[in-house]
């Protein structure tokens, strides 16, 4: 999941709906002629990328968006949130979900004119997985056979004095180039969802030029293979992209230039949007949501969408006080999610009623029975669990706008269960995450999840399986682990989804966390843009933009 790094902290990112801006059939009488449109330029709002733009080393939205635009992967995620389809891949074949033969479309090009070959994928993945390179997304390659040879763990964690041993290999033995246009991937264990993952930015190919220079240098002038290519990057001011004329895949650009203007403050960007200085803003500021001001300001140019993300409050299950499932369920039942949705989010974020966001393929709506509001049942369960003594803290990071809804949740728990619940702000996200990573939380805490790739697997394995990358509360249920493992290695996605549904039923009994709301996004565009769509995670699909 990518994290937004805007200082003032707008939160929601992403949307799963294809949206057609209002009143815009292609042939507009006042829309200017087609020639002007195809050479047209747009300026959109963005944030300064935190790191040089290397796909496997980018985990925040500012740089992530640019990478999504500049690269095309083996598969792509349709804007309507549906199942992934082949993009650069000609075919991805497997008989056992363990060995994949991937054939790519021949003679597509990187922006520097060199062809995209099978070895560009293999080399890029090996680079990302090799632990001394320290790629932030390195662990995404863990499915591939031989990952543990190239990616060594620090024996006492990053904090400890010992150093990670030197990896024994530089390349994963599960990756094999067959010829220029095909390669074979052998996984450590069967994984049905592997082809779905291939659309995530970490799995993008890198040109030969990447390997002849420092990654930082490459990342300042990145070379991708997508519909737009890099022109210039002036720090904190502007990133300029332009149409890649040799692009041969489906999603060609309908306009020419895309300028990403970098803002620090989202209110400044919003005022620029209102006065026509920029053409698109992905998330309008929180201050404009009150009383639906943004809809009045933007009129038909306001776009409301839902995103495959969920706001969650998690339990530190390593703390003895939270080990009783009845207590956890009581707390979850005492929260009136509808009221929070209406009063705090003005209906822009919907109350959560399922474990995986229902926009995700394989996820079922309404399968979270503890997400209902039932104060009587909650009181009964609390009594059965033997009550809760002492103060119940609900921690959140105060550098983004979480205060209001966390306080509302605390107040509801207090009113409905007579537990002394208080919301407590931790100054920064870094301090907050440090305590969570170290398993030192002394009460419940805010969490959130936005899918990395569209499959229910991404909502179960990282969050609720023992040792999952974001299972920070250390929830562990052997039965869930077993089912999730069976589901992951199922021969087909359908079989996998069926097994995950069984696992989710057990998770529902245990209530390892409290889903509160489903993400929503409020975007706006200028009068200049006649047509646009948002991607499955709510970014602007720049190839859909028409002027």
């Amino acid at each position: 999941m990518r994290v937004s790094k805007r200082a003032t902290g707008a939160v929601a990112l992403g949307a799963a709906f294809a949206l057609v801006a209002s009143g815009c059939s292609g042939s507009d009488s006042d829309g200017g002629d087609a020639g002007a449109s195809t050479d047209g330029a747009i300026t959109i709002e963005g944030t300064q990328p935190e790191n040089p733009l290397v796909p496997s080393n980018t985990t925040e939205t500012g740089g992530g968006k640019i990478i999504d635009w500049m690269w095309t992967g083996l598969v792509e995620y349709p804007n309507d949130g549906g199942a992934p389809r082949n993009a650069l891949a000609e075919s991805i074949e497997t008989t056992d979900s363990k060995v994949y033969k991937i054939k790519i479309k021949e003679n597509t090009k990187f922006h520097d004119g060199t062809p995209v070959k099978a070895k560009n994928f293999v080399d890029a993945w090996n680079w990302g997985a090799y632990s001394p390179n320290g790629a932030q997304n390195g662990s995404f390659f863990a499915d591939i056979d031989g990952f543990t040879d190239v990616h060594t763990e620090d024996p006492d964690g990053a904090e400890g004095p010992q150093k990670a041993p030197e990896p024994t290999a530089k390349e994963m033995k599960g990756l094999k180039v067959l010829d220029d246009w095909s390669f074979e991937v052998t996984l450590a264990a069967p994984t049905a969802v592997f082809p779905t993952k291939l659309g995530y930015s970490t799995f993008m190919p890198l040109p030969d030029a990447f390997f002849t220079q420092k990654p930082e240098e490459f990342g300042r002038k990145p070379i991708g293979n997508g519909p737009v290519k890099f022109v210039s990057w002036e720090d904190d001011v502007m990133i300029k992209l332009t149409r890649f004329d040799d692009y041969q895949l489906r999603d060609k650009m309908k306009i020419k230039d895309v300028n990403v203007k970098i803002y620090q403050d989202d209110t400044a960007a919003y005022n620029d949007l209102l006065s026509g200085n920029i053409d698109f803003m992905q998330q309008v500021p929180v201050s404009s949501l009150a009383g639906d001001k943004w809809k009045t300001d933007l009129g038909e140019r306001a776009i409301s969408s839902t995103t495959p993300s969920t706001g969650i409050i998690a339990f530190p299950i390593y703390d003895k006080r939270f080990q009783n499932a009845k207590l956890r369920k009581a707390i979850s039942l005492s929260i009136n999610r509808q009221e929070i949705s209406d009063k705090i989010f003005f209906g822009n974020r919907k109350p959560a009623d399922s474990w995986a966001n229902p926009l995700t393929p394989g996820a079922a709506p309404g399968n979270c029975t503890s997400c209902q509001f039932n104060p009587e049942e909650a009181k009964r369960l609390l009594a059965e669990a033997g009550g809760f003594s002492g103060k119940l803290t609900l921690a959140y990071n105060a550098d983004a706008s979480h205060k209001e809804w966390m306080e509302a949740v605390a107040q509801q728990i207090k009113t409905n269960l007579q537990i002394d619940a208080v919301a407590e702000g931790v100054p920064t996200f870094a301090v907050f995450r440090q305590n969570i990573n170290a398993h030192k939380m002394t009460g419940m805490y805010r969490a959130g999840w936005q899918q990395d790739y569209p499959d229910v697997e991404n909502w179960v394995n990282p969050l609720y399986v023992t040792g999952g990358s974001s299972n920070d509360g250390l929830y562990s249920n052997k039965e869930v682990d077993r089912l999730a493992k069976e589901a992951s290695s199922a021969p087909s996605l359908e079989a996998s989804h069926a097994k995950f549904a069984e696992a989710v039923k057990l998770i529902d009994q245990d209530v390892p966390s409290v889903p509160i709301y489903f993400g929503g996004q409020q975007s706006g565009h200028s009068e200049k843009i006649k047509k646009l769509e948002l991607t499955n995670v709510g970014e602007l699909d720049i190839t859909s933009v028409e002027l």
């Binding site: 999941m1 990518r2 994290v3 200082a7 003032t8 990328p49 935190e50 790191n51 040089p52 985990t59 925040e60 632990s131 001394p132 390179n133 320290g134 790629a135 932030q136 997304n137 390195g138 990616h151 763990e153 620090d154 964690g157 990053a158 150093k163 990670a164 930082e216 990342g219 002036e234 720090d235 904190d236 001011v237 502007m238 803002y263 620090q264 403050d265 209110t267 400044a268 960007a269 005022n271 620029d272 209102l274 006065s275 200085n277 550098d399 100054p427 920064t428 996200f429 870094a430 301090v431 907050f432 995450r433 440090q434 990573n437 969490a447 959130g448 999840w449 990282p462 990358s469 974001s470």
Partner: protein, 308 residues
Amino acid sequence: MGRYLLRRLLQLIPVFIGTTFLIYWLVWSVPGDPFAGKCGERACPDAYVNMMTEKFKLNENIFVQYGNYMQNLFQGDFGTTFGGRPIGDIIATSYPNTLKLAVVALAIEALIGLTAGVLTGLRRNGFLDNLVLVSTLFLIALPVFVIGFVLQWVLGVQWGIVKPTVSNEMRISELIVPGFVLGSASMAYIARVSRTSIAENRRADYVRTAIAKGLPMRRVVGVHLLRNSLIPVVTLLGTDLGALMGGAIVTEGIFGINGIGRQVFRAIVTKESATVVSIVVVLVLVYLLMNLLVDLLYAALDPRIRYE
């Protein structure tokens, strides 16, 4: 005079070392692991954290870290951010922008503040005096961001007579509104201080003498009165340049100016000591030099002050 100047310049050295260490230490002691929140709602791989810790020598103690930093600094190397950007580049691009904004603010506040101060100081209790009194009270009472947002909304969005944010070229005409916002509080203070100072000196013996000698009023006010009344105002203006630059963060944010404010803010949040110190060091130098300049100006304004 020369010796005085030398002494003052030498004094800069310990102040420089003291402030840099203090700032380095402050940022260093901000709680939080700089890499804990980098990867969103999941912990970053150990490999990444290890590589960064190694690269920036974060496992060393503060004195070694500070020593390394100073050593590089004297070789003209400010270091890099965690994202790999040379800090020297950040300073080179963001400082001129902030300085430009601060100078525009200073010019506006000096012009409007002094004019209002002199006019009201000469004619106290008139309509103008009361008007200035009320409007300065208003400016002092309102926080900068309120003035900023209101002006941006009214002038930029509603009336459309200026662009809501400043373009990359930083034209002077675009900086008038942000400059006014940034300098608004100081403008009010300058108007009030100069009013009081003028009013006080208006009854001084030398002014009465000058008038009695039959000097034209313009000369009495312009030379005798103004020059003597300017000392507190010059103090205010001189020290204000540093304050404006350091305090520009809110204004820069509102008007989208790529200045030092956002860089310092970002660096504090991400615990990049080197970036914070490098930017603040230059700010400290501005303060020190402006203070020196003000002290020297005193002598020029008031012949009774002599430096040995």
